[in-house]
């Protein structure tokens, strides 16, 4: 598909104004932009690079891959993995799978929301924590479970969850 260069340049400028450098994903695009069926892979790698997928970036990817922006947005919003907003420094993935549910994941969620003052899917005002519920982390025998930046915490109680968050907050406060 023929790409209108003015459009690409305008899209790049829009990204740069947001502080997002489109050149960072040039390698990904040069490798995958023309490959059929690679849209999900492009979005996954873009999210690895930028941490999230702002709408302007989706528009840029649409231009470069010859897709309609609606299609790219449609794919990005279909899958749970993709985030359209930036996340906190610490991503809390709280397991809400069946085993965790039976063993009290709701009480853990309440404790986290209480402590941080956010709801599921939100990020704290200080940009430290984002809470995401996930369907199953696959560590059912340790339920209830949460994962923070790849580290798993099992057999949680509301108190244990609170103290884990408190120790991260303390560590961050000391680092300042």
């Amino acid at each position: 598909m023929k790409i209108n260069c003015n459009c690409v340049q305008a899209s790049k400028t829009a990204l740069q104004q947001q502080g997002i450098d489109p050149e960072k994903m040039e390698d990904v695009l040069s490798h995958y932009a023309d490959k059929e069926g690679a849209l999900i892979t492009i979005l996954q790698q873009a999210q690895d690079i930028y941490g999230y997928l702002p709408v302007e970036l989706l528009n840029y990817i649409a231009l470069r891959t010859g897709n309609k922006p609606a299609k790219v947005l449609g794919v990005a919003t279909f899958y749970a993995q993709f985030r359209l907003a930036p996340m906190g420094k610490y991503l809390i993935m709280l397991c809400k799978g069946t085993a965790c549910h039976v063993n009290g994941a709701n009480a853990i969620e309440e404790a986290i929301c209480d402590t941080l003052g956010i709801q599921e899917g939100e990020t704290t005002a200080d940009g430290l924590f984002t809470l995401n519920n996930v369907a199953c982390l696959g560590c059912c025998s340790l339920s209830p479970v949460m994962m923070i930046n790849g580290e798993t915490y099992g057999t949680l109680t509301p108190d244990k969850a609170r103290s884990i968050l408190a120790s991260i907050q303390q560590k961050e406060a000391e680092a300042k």
């Binding site: 059929e36 069926g37 690679a38 849209l39 999900i40 892979t41 979005l43 996954q44 449609g74 794919v75 279909f78 899958y79 749970a80 993995q81 993709f82 809400k96 799978g97 069946t98 085993a99 549910h101 039976v102 063993n103 009480a107 309440e110 996930v134 369907a135 199953c136 982390l137 696959g138 560590c139 059912c140 025998s141 340790l142 339920s143 479970v145 798993t152 099992g154 509301p158």
Partner: protein
């Protein structure tokens, strides 16, 4: 002496990496540095982290629930030629493996999944070699037919039939696809196989590809399984280096290679046509069948999709003969099945048992019974597509037909055990919440019907249920089943229908008596303080977030029910067991 640490995802979550690091630094300090081996999940998740030490005579000593401190005690004893008895696995726990028949999991927790030589030493890649060098593709399919192997992903469709259809489909390009998008909450069989024995999956796919005349394979793995992706990537590289993947395998005209595609998190992508859409970079939405993927699948080419466990059985079947596999199981279900045993169970983990065993054998025989010896209430099988099997049916035989007769399904192998404290209405609400969120939105009955069902279930658990709600749930459930396009929608009402079938009284209790017998639905319970037991320590009053508790020091306290928000903090903080839920 040789040290092996179990490093499946669950072992790592329990602290296996820390234990391995502690072992390494201890050995270094002792001047006895040695490599620390890795293995996958043995299935005894409740005992993780697990460390195996093989002494110089090759005898294995298994240590369980190891931590950074105990590993030093263990190593100190082992280096002195002794055992650290306190941390050894108990005979009872060790016997759990003997109660199983492990085929798909035959190497999990035994070999090093990152070393292809370990798999080869266990007879790996001999089956594909025999297929390519001595058997015709039709003969391979015939062995699968004799074995009676059926799809382990849930539907239980005969594997040979799919392979045969793909073989007979017209076209020079055919795809062999593995569905490793294990989205069923509470199930992790596929993850354990890929993490613990990735080469068995590769060999299974090779055999399938040879039988069907396919030269390209794709494994669609959940992105939530990063370790599985790492180990499979390594296994593919090693298999290529050995010439098991690539051109002219074992000097024949058969060529085949596999690539990995990371899924992006959508339960519906477990449905094969949705999976294909996702592979093509689209929204994962199912389409009408026929045409079946065997005729028109990935990029409109003939494609075969099997689940991980199905492929994992294939090398064993070809090596031991289809008849050996068919010798296990019942008339309509052959071989073994892996289950992820979780919930209110004492010994949770992965178990593989022959078809035909009873549910009771799994829960009490292998699983050790219910946590805290509470009463067994039900077991949920088949995840969001399955159903709850009540305690009175605990003697039910595990095979496709018997489970379907209960209203549940075999499913991919999730087995979530529930006790008397699990509310069945809340359980149904939980699954509907899941399927409602995961509905792709294509069919109106599934998209809107599950939403309406969820609303009704939510209001019942909130104590706002109305006369007629049960009948309305049934009507909606039957309509969704009848009119949804794909498996997700057709089975979404199952958790509601089975709980209505076996636990209708709980629904009625919620609606008409404003009572939750399991004491889980907070709108329907009250917290009360037992004046006899209360010592007046004031702890509950100080912990109450809404100041609903009053009373003087050293006198019995009281909860103001109008103010109470039923958070349960009083109950969890009371040291005298004086707060009760009613």
């Amino acid at each position: 002496m040789r040290i092996v640490v179990g490093k499946g995802s669950c072992g790592i979550a329990a602290g296996a990496n820390k234990v391995a690091a502690a072992a390494e630094s201890y050995l270094k300090a002792q001047g006895k540095e040695m490599p620390i081996g890795v293995t996958g999940c043995i299935g005894m998740c409740y005992l993780e982290p697990i460390v195996d030490i093989f002494d110089d005579a090759g005898v294995q000593h298994t240590y369980v629930k190891v931590n950074e401190a105990s590993i030093q005690t263990i190593l100190e004893a082992e280096l002195a030629g002794k055992r650290a008895e306190a941390y050894l696995i108990s005979d009872e726990d060790a016997s759990i493996l003997q109660k199983q028949t492990r085929i798909a999991l035959r190497n999990c927790g035994i070999i090093n999944p990152e070393n292809i030589e370990d798999y080869i030493a266990k007879g790996g890649y001999e089956a594909i070699k025999a297929c390519v060098t001595t058997m015709k593709p039709e003969e391979v399919i015939e062995q699968i037919k004799i074995s009676g192997l059926a799809g382990r992903g849930g539907a239980g469709f005969p594997t040979w039939f799919k392979w045969n259809a793909a073989r007979n489909a017209k076209g020079d390009k055919k795809y062999t696809i593995c569905n490793a998008d294990e989205g069923d909450p509470g199930a992790f069989m596929d993850r354990a196989v890929i993490e613990g024995d990735p080469h068995t999956l590769i060999e299974g796919m090779l055999i399938g590809a040879y039988a069907m005349g396919s030269d390209e394979g794709v494994v669609y793995v959940r992105a939530e399984y990063p370790l599985a992706i790492v180990r499979l990537t390594k296994a593919l590289e090693d298999a290529r280096a050995k010439g098991f993947l690539g051109k002219n395998i074992f000097g024949s005209s058969f060529s085949f290679d596999i690539r990995i595609k990371a899924g992006a998190g959508a339960f519906v992508c477990g449905e094969e046509t949705a999976l294909i859409a996702s592979l093509e970079g689209e929204r994962g939405m199912p389409r009408l069948k026929p045409p079946f993927p065997a005729e028109k699948g990935f990029w409109q080419k003939p494609s075969n999709i099997n689940n991980v466990e199905t492929y994992a059985n294939v090398p064993w079947i070809l090596k031991n003969g289809g008849a050996a596999f068919a010798a296990m199981g019942t008339e309509n279900s052959k071989g073994t099945k892996v289950f992820a045993l979780t919930g209110k169970i004492k010994k949770g983990g992965l178990v593989e048992i022959p078809m035909g065993a009873k549910i009771k054998d799994v829960i009490y025989g292998v699983g050790g019974g219910i946590k805290e010896d509470k009463a067994f209430k039900a077991v949920q099988m088949g995840g969001p597509s399955g159903g709850c099997i009540p305690a009175e049916l605990i003697e039910t035989i595990i095979d496709y037909k018997s489970l379907a007769a209960t209203g549940a399904i075999m499913g991919s192998g999730g087995m979530v055990v529930m006790d008397e404290t699990t509310c069945m209405v809340d359980m149904a609400r939980f699954f509907l919440d899941f399927t409602c969120k995961e509905s792709c939105g294509k069919c109106i009955h599934c998209r809107i019907g599950t939403k309406r069902m969820l609303e009704i279930l939510t209001r019942i658990t909130e104590g706002k249920g109305k006369d007629g709600d049960i009948e309305l749930l049934e009507e909606l459930a039957n309509q969704i089943k009848a009119s949804a396009l794909c498996g997700l929608g057709q089975t979404a009402p199952n958790p509601v229908l089975t709980t209505l079938r076996y636990f209708r009284n709980e629904y009625e209790d919620h609606i008409y008596n404003h009572k939750c017998t399991a004491k889980q639905c907070s709108a329907l319970i009250t917290y009360e303080i037992d004046a006899e037991k209360c010592r007046g320590c004031t702890l509950c009053a100080r912990n109450c977030p809404v100041n609903a508790i009053s009373g003087n020091v050293k006198e019995a306290h009281k909860i103001d029910q109008d103010v109470c928000i039923k958070c349960g903090k009083c109950m969890s903080s009371c040291k005298f067991d004086a707060v009760h839920k009613n």
